[in-house]
């Protein structure tokens, strides 16, 4: 019983971080129908943001979100405006290849600037875990979980309560109809990409205390990120959350009750199984 409770908790905590990485990607896909292969590198930039914030200015990573969210948002908008806008009409595949090139570019510029050294973030409150009901939880992970919940809630409020948010959802559900309704799809796309970038950065900041960081860490994250997003249904925010949590829990339970070496494999099998029964993911809205 203790094992099960601990395993489940670990799964949920890891799953929340997975979900955070997935949300940014799924929002962008929803509106622009592009698979952004550079998403992992954007997460990496967030991780480095947290690292430099702490090293240079003694800024707590979770506090540094207040800085990095707007910076990444702006960065995303510039990226869209100057690099991606012309490419997207060329179709999914072209954008895919283009963002693959972009991911190489970002990762290797980072490698050039910061060298490939492995870095870790050490927090004074990260030493001693809290133990509610005998379950051990690392404090940074608990904080990251809470912050992830807050960001998701804010995102949900934004998407459902503001005009801009509604415009994003409308474009995501039906781009052509959105144009007819007088929505400036171009502007919506730009803002959505900024939002996706900011979310990727936030995921990186939250992830930084739990994982080490190096310029090519994005490779590690991107495959998992896809599994989560497709599991939930491309373009669906609740789907990404469900996909992330599900993957976290299944991996965690699988490691204990099936085989730890096939941990990652269990995730992929689950992924295929879900897709076979629901070809457009758990929360997919069909074609």
């Amino acid at each position: 019983m203790e094992t099960f409770a601990q395993t489940l908790t670990s799964g949920v905590l890891t799953g929340a971080l997975y979900a955070m990485i997935g949300i940014g990607l799924t929002v962008v896909f929803g509106v622009m129908r592009i698979i952004n292969l550079a998403h992992g590198e954007l997460v990496m930039l967030g991780m480095f943001g947290a690292f430099w914030g702490l090293t240079l200015w003694k800024l707590d990573p979770f506090v540094s979100l207040l800085l990095w969210l707007p910076v990444m948002f702006l960065g995303g908008i510039l990226l869209y405006r100057f690099l991606l806008r012309k490419i997207i009409p060329g179709g999914e595949l072209n954008t895919l290849l283009y963002t693959a090139g972009l991911s190489l570019l970002i990762a290797n510029l980072a490698l050039f600037a910061w060298t490939g050294d492995y870095r870790t973030i050490s927090l004074s409150y990260g030493q001693e875990p809290i133990r509610p009901f005998g379950i051990s939880i690392a404090v940074p992970q608990a904080v990251a979980f809470a912050v992830a919940l807050a960001i998701t809630a804010a995102l949900w409020l934004f998407l459902s309560r503001t005009d801009l948010g509604r415009a994003i959802r409308a474009t995501s559900q039906n781009g052509e109809a959105a144009v007819l309704m007088g929505i400036d799809v171009e502007r919506v796309a730009m803002i959505t990409f900024g939002l996706g970038t900011a979310l990727a950065g936030a995921a990186g900041v939250l992830l930084a205390p739990s994982l080490y960081l190096y310029p090519t860490v994005g490779e590690l994250l991107i495959v998992k990120c896809f599994v989560i997003v497709v599991l939930g249904g491309l373009g669906s925010v609740p789907g990404a959350i469900a996909g992330g949590l599900l993957l976290g829990v299944v991996e965690s339970l699988g490691a204990v009750y099936v085989s730890s070496t096939y941990k990652d494999g269990i995730g992929f099998v689950l992924f295929l199984a879900v897709l076979l029964y629901r070809p457009s993911g758990l929360f997919g809205v069909g074609k």
Binding site: T7, T14, L17, L111, Y118, S122, S136, T261
Partner: protein, 408 residues
């Protein structure tokens, strides 16, 4: 007139011999300078550079300068083969070294063997590299299955240390599986029950589930193998947080020996053993001097990678010094190979002499350093410092066993 003839002669001699003398002796080193292993390529680059500068400043090898040609293989096997081909056939290096990970080293070894160029392995640890009868391939560092030698010696010879049971947790890479298998083979031979045998994928974010499961088996020893640094740190952290209380926590793999281990874990690192990460005998003043010099130059303390890379260049320089070089590349490479066979020296890494012998898992080694079993050491974390504790000959301090946590 005589003066004129003499100066003419000198001039001629200069003209004919200087090009040969000035031509540097080239060493080729494929390393991962980009991609996931980039940090390691950089470590070796620093270590090689420092050794070469020292040797050249002291007059080079028989008057000729050494030169290292490093090329990036991105941690990809096919690229490692391509780079090796290029260094051997285009750059015309005399000898190869480097490689960093075993998969790439396998390709470099295979190419070097076919193109009859000596290859001195400085870090890759897969047993297979020196177990395929490649007479052109030499290795200074211990193989994976030798890594646990100090640990085996410890449990056999320290009074009361023989485990009553052991849990083995290792990653499913070549490194993790080789060491995991070597440990378990030894323990089974000593009738120690293995109560948990868990392989995990690299870069696992959370080991608490696995550690909870392991805790249920109540092991006397917890043995952890990790190729990646975060895995090493998280394994230790989560094992302690979950409340595992074995008589000894023993880590295998470089990650358990790096400074991050103590900065990240703080008091949790206390008394954790690290078996394997041999980086020279710290009691040797020459080794200490090297550590100091490296640190003042680059601002970091050298560990196994730096020590291995630095030592490799000295082993190569020693062989080049003894080899009769004629200017004919194929003959020179053969001469260097012959010279390597006769190597018998001491570097900051330790003694080195290549020979053919049989490894702990029965691998038939060729040209593997015969002193390798001595290059396995057990160290223990004490108040933020990693100190060698076993075997006694290399110990810096006494060891703490059993872990005080287990007594509570």
């Amino acid at each position: 007139m005589r003066n004129f003839a003499a100066s003419l002669f000198a001039l001629l001699a200069f003209a004919f011999t200087t090009p040969a003398l000035a031509q540097p002796l080239k060493i080729g080193a494929p390393q991962p300078m980009t991609g996931p292993d980039a940090p390691f390529g950089d470590k070796f680059k620093k270590a090689y550079g420092m050794a070469i500068e020292e040797i050249n400043a002291a007059g080079g090898v028989n008057g000729r300068k050494l030169e290292i040609v490093i090329e990036d293989h991105q941690a990809k096997n096919a690229l490692a083969a391509t780079v090796a081909e290029k260094l051997i056939t285009q750059e015309k290096v005399l000898i190869m070294t480097g490689g960093r990970a075993s998969g790439q080293a396998m390709e470099i070894a295979s190419v070097s063997q076919r193109l009859k160029t000596p290859y001195l392995v400085d870090h890759p640890s897969a047993d297979m590299i020196t177990a395929k009868g490649f007479e052109w391939v030499f290795r200074n560092n211990p193989t994976g299955s030798i890594y646990p030698a100090a640990f085996n010696d410890f449990i056999a010879n320290f009074p009361g240390a023989m485990p009553k049971s052991a849990a083995v947790v290792y990653d499913n890479t070549l490194f993790g599986k080789t060491i995991g298998a070597a440990i378990m083979k030894q323990l089974k031979a000593k009738n120690v029950p293995i109560v948990a045998d868990e392989a995990y994928p690299v870069n696992t974010l959370d080991f608490k589930p696995i550690m909870t499961k392991v805790k249920g088996t109540n092991p006397d020893y917890l043995l952890m193998v990790a190729v990646s640094t975060t895995d090493a740190i998280l394994l230790t952290r989560h094992a302690k947080e979950i409340g595992l209380r074995p008589r000894a926590f023993v880590g295998f793999g470089g990650g358990f020996g790096v400074a991050d281990m103590s900065t990240q874990l703080g008091p949790l690192a206390q008394n954790v053993f690290s078996s394997a990460a041999w980086s020279g005998n710290p009691n040797d003043p020459k080794v200490k001097a090297f550590y100091q010099k490296f640190h003042s130059r680059f601002g970091i303390w050298p560990h196994e990678h730096e020590v291995e890379g630095y030592s490799a260049i000295y082993i190569i320089a020693d062989a080049l010094k003894r080899a009769k070089l004629t200017g004919d590349l194929a003959a020179d490479r053969e001469a260097v190979r012959k010279a390597l066979l006769a190597t018998d020296m001491t570097t900051v890494f330790g003694k080195v002499k290549f020979g053919n012998w049989s490894g702990p898992l029965g691998d038939p080694y060729t040209n593997q350093n015969v002193y390798s079993p001595e290059h396995s050491v057990m160290a223990q974390w004490k108040d933020g410092q990693l100190l060698n504790v076993w075997p006694k000959a290399n110990a810096e301090t006494g060891l703490t066993f059993p872990d005080p946590l287990a007594m509570k």
